[in-house]
């Protein structure tokens, strides 16, 4: 008998049917992947199974017993635990408090917290994950990947029968991903069923036993992973064959063209060290490396967000002044699209229109006010041009799917026509269809003469898009290769820290 059975789940938000007649079974010890484009209903299904929301219709049973629908705490106690896509952590609490919150061990009937046991338990679960995190520090001071690890640790600590992971590896480096997989396999061996959502198909083919595909809120089917090909899976997800020519990219390049951006000897103690590179107009320069190698920090320094210790940044032959600010960088034609779009790239409760026009408000101001008509027109144009799917320009940004949110983040800069884009993980957590569109957009931007610095942990993406790739390791450039000659193996080898640099 299956461990978890979800039967004929129907759910709608307002008038939109999010799930229609979806059924799913998970066997004990099975790694069950859940695939589909953004908006296909994966998150909704997870929310229903994990008790965040009760379904309109349908039932979920564990071992034949119905789960208490819509009651997170009760569902967790029954043994179904979810790790949601955005790390669910409490920024002001320490790692220890975070992993235990909601089920703290106590003496005297819970009246006296057993802090020693909490510290031991947290250390143990971090060890299981192979992670060495500061346990006492407020989690808000940790990196995104570390916060994700805390969120996963919280789930592992539960005695779970079913573990649901919604894109857990999106912000993790290759090494962290491997530690996570090791931990999941241990649970699998103990008979825990895994429901796994990821846009990284290679992970699914590597780890999963079966895969269920959703499209537009409906079941496409459940298949054993051994019985299907990658292209079959993609086709099931998008419902059409992928544009096979998208990988090809003709690139006539002038070797001697002057550099648009030149970075020399850029250093910041403990973060990056002697970074030299140059980008020409129309070039896509990939910046590869593990999470924490200093890629994001370099982009932030170029944009004037973070200070640098030494080194020079030259844009268009003119050096940036010492201690320059973001608006200097923007005036010189730079744009930064940050990695953490929910927190840094978008004002979620504000409308699509407001978000799109925020960096160019000056262009729409007239005496003492805002020219609403021309602003509305510009926003409308961008929505069309970027293919943003929104009910109306005044809908709040948070009502859009992740892929469409990402298009807003890109689109708001496109209006200013920058000559240099600093893109940090532009497709993190974005579904295959939207990813294609973002890729197409990046190519269009480059073809129209903008230079692009592309930071990405997604190997195929960086290989497919980049004219040239730099690989960063522990804050230094380890290697450089032209896009056509690069291989995933070579990039990974450069990205991994050399064994014991200090020994020998």
């Amino acid at each position: 008998m299956s461990l978890l059975v979800a039967q004929q789940i129907h759910h709608s938000y307002g008038g939109t049917q999010a799930l229609c007649d979806v059924s799913l079974e998970i066997e004990p010890g099975e790694w069950h992947a859940l695939c589909g484009e953004n908006g296909a209903g994966k998150s909704t299904l997870i929310k229903i199974i994990s008790g965040v929301e009760p379904p309109d219709q349908g039932s979920v049973t564990l071992d034949g017993n119905p789960l208490p629908m819509g009651r997170i705490h009760a569902v967790e106690q029954a043994g179904v635990v979810a790790v949601h896509q955005e790390p669910v952590v409490f920024p002001h609490l320490s790692t220890i408090d975070n992993v235990f919150v909601g089920r703290e061990p106590g003496r005297l009937g819970g009246l006296w917290l057993d802090r020693d046991r909490m510290a031991r338990g947290a250390r143990q679960v971090m060890h299981q994950l192979g992670e060495d995190l500061p346990l006492e520090q407020p989690v808000g001071e940790l990196s995104l990947a570390q916060r994700q690890m805390v969120s996963i640790a919280r789930a592992l600590l539960n005695d779970c029968r079913i573990l649901i992971l919604d894109e857990p590896t999106a912000s993790l480096s290759a090494r962290e991903t491997q530690s996570l997989f090791r931990a999941i396999k241990q649970l699998q061996a103990q008979g825990v069923g895994i429901l796994y959502v990821s846009h990284r198909l290679e992970e699914i083919f590597q780890m999963a036993d079966r895969v269920t595909v959703l499209r537009d809120g409906r079941m496409v089917g459940t298949h054993s992973i051994a019985s299907i090909q990658r292209s079959d899976l993609i086709q099931m997800m998008v419902g059409r064959p992928l544009d096979a020519s998208s990988a090809a990219r003709p690139l006539p390049r002038e070797e001697q063209a002057p550099a648009l951006l030149e970075v020399q000897g850029l250093s910041r103690a403990g973060v990056f060290d002697h970074i030299d590179f140059a980008i020409q107009s129309g070039e896509i320069l990939g910046l590869s490396g593990l999470v924490g190698a200093g890629r994001t920090e370099i982009a932030r320094a170029i944009f004037g967000l973070d200070p640098i210790d030494t080194g020079s940044i030259t844009m268009d032959g003119q050096p940036m002044p010492e201690g320059f600010q973001i608006h200097d960088a923007m005036d010189r034609g730079m744009a930064l699209v940050p990695e953490d779009r929910q927190r840094q790239g978008l004002i979620l409760p504000e409308s699509v229109e407001d978000n799109l026009t925020l960096p160019s408000l000056k262009a729409f101001s007239k005496f003492l006010g805002l020219d609403r008509d021309s602003r509305g027109k510009a926003a409308h144009g961008l929505i069309q041009r970027m293919g943003i799917k929104t009910a109306k320009p005044s809908s709040p940004a948070q009502s859009l799917s992740g892929g469409n949110q990402q298009k807003i983040v890109l689109g708001k800069w496109v209006y200013r026509q920058p000559r240099l884009f600093l893109l940090d993980e532009p497709t993190r957590g974005v579904d295959i269809g939207a990813k294609e569109e973002v890729h197409r957009m990046i190519r269009t931007l480059a073809r129209s003469g903008s230079a692009i610095l592309l930071i990405s942990s997604d190997m195929p993406e960086i290989l497919q898009l980049s004219d040239r790739i730099l690989v960063l390791c522990q804050g230094r450039i380890r290697g450089e290769v032209t896009g056509s000659q690069a291989t995933a193996e070579q990039l990974l080898e450069w990205a991994l820290p050399p064994e014991r640099p200090d020994a020998a």
């Binding site: 008790g51 965040v52 009651r71 997170i72 705490h73 009760a74 569902v75 967790e76 979810a82 949601h84 669910v88 952590v89 409490f90 920024p91 002001h92 609490l93 320490s94 408090d97 235990f100 919150v101 909601g102 703290e104 106590g106 819970g110 009246l111 006296w112 917290l113 802090r115 407020p138 919280r154």
Partner: protein, 331 residues
């Protein structure tokens, strides 16, 4: 010999101490004490220090509750009016010319009423999802009205001696209100550091959405914290109001502002998730001391006016200082 310069760890500790709100408040409080004692040595007299402590006691007690409300990300500006209504109710219950209940019953009745009013606040915020600033603003006005109804334009001057002794009595030479304050502080320390409820309060204030996904009982916690603040307001009323010989309808006016000032000056974040009890207690002590200092400076009638102005400046200053002290935010 340079003990702090040689070791980077020690240096770091000093630096973080300098940045810490609590240390800053302690320095500032000491500075005022030293300055006042040079200016007028009687300021340091035991009787004056005790008066300051006694005046600070109700402020400290209510602050312990209000701090948790702010940590939750909510606010309660009804505590002043609540104190007024509780004082009136206590007086009416105990007074021989009114209901003439036994003093013990009046005490317990006051406490129950405090919990009840707090729970209404909490219920409106938690279950009807009314913003707490609106709920408690309404409560602030309504309770002041109820106070006037209970008092009926009269004063209560005949509190029974048992109740009076709650305010004026001593045990082992220390005023009873200070013992009560100490007990409240100990319970609050336990609540914040060693109870699951405390962890939940900080978690909910830190990231409400995550708290929901973690399955924390948000509404119940909100209700509890507001009710607890109501309870503490009743406790503060019981130990402070009987110090006066007369209960009138104006008791507790402005108390909410004073308490919010203390809590914010003490480093509690208005946005929730951050709050540290020692800072809040020092804040309460400092604010009370400043009123005393103003009296010592013989400003006469002006003292009250000045103390309001200074209170406001402190709130603004505390909020302006926030970015620099934010790194010390562990509860």
């Amino acid at each position: 010999m340079n003990p702090s310069g040689s070791n980077p760890k020690v240096q770091q500790a000093w630096f973080s101490l300098l940045k810490s709100r609590t240390a800053g408040l302690a320095c500032f409080t000491t500075l005022i004490l030293v300055w006042m004692s040079l200016w007028n040595p009687t300021f340091l007299a035991w009787s004056n220090l005790r008066d300051i402590a006694v005046a600070a006691a109700p402020v400290c007690i209510i602050s312990c509750g209000l701090m948790l409300v702010l940590v939750l990300g909510e606010i309660d500006i009804s505590v002043g009016s609540m104190m007024g209504v509780l004082a009136a109710a206590m007086g009416a219950m105990a007074s021989a010319s009114r209901w003439h209940l036994p003093p013990g019953v009046a005490m317990v009745g006051t406490l129950i009423l405090g919990v009840f009013i707090g729970a209404i606040n909490g219920w409106l915020v938690a279950y009807l999802k009314v913003p707490s600033i609106m709920v408690t603003l309404g409560m602030l006005t309504a309770l002041r009205g109820v106070t006037e109804v209970i008092m009926g334009g009269q004063w209560i001057t005949d509190l029974p001696p048992e109740l009076r002794s709650l305010g004026t009595g001593t045990w082992l030479g220390i005023p009873i209100c200070l013992w009560v304050t100490a007990a409240v502080v100990l319970i609050s320390l336990w609540l914040i550091h060693r109870s699951t409820l405390g962890r939940r309060i900080y978690a909910i204030g830190s990231h409400p959405k995550a708290a929901r996904l973690a399955g924390l009982p948000i509404a119940r916690t909100q209700c509890l914290v507001f009710a607890w603040t109501g309870f503490l307001t009743a406790v503060a009323t019981l130990v402070s109001v009987p110090q006066l010989s007369v209960v009138d309808a104006g008791i507790g006016v402005g108390m909410e502002l004073l308490v919010v000032t203390c809590v914010v000056v003490g480093g509690t974040a208005v946005s929730g998730g951050i709050g540290n009890l020692s800072g809040v207690l020092l804040g309460a002590l400092l604010m009370t001391m400043i009123s005393t200092v103003l009296i010592f400076m013989k400003l006469g009638e002006n003292a009250t006016y000045w103390s309001r102005a200074i209170q406001g400046l402190f709130i603004l200053g505390a909020i302006l200082l926030e970015p620099w002290t934010r790194s010390r935010k562990k509860p």
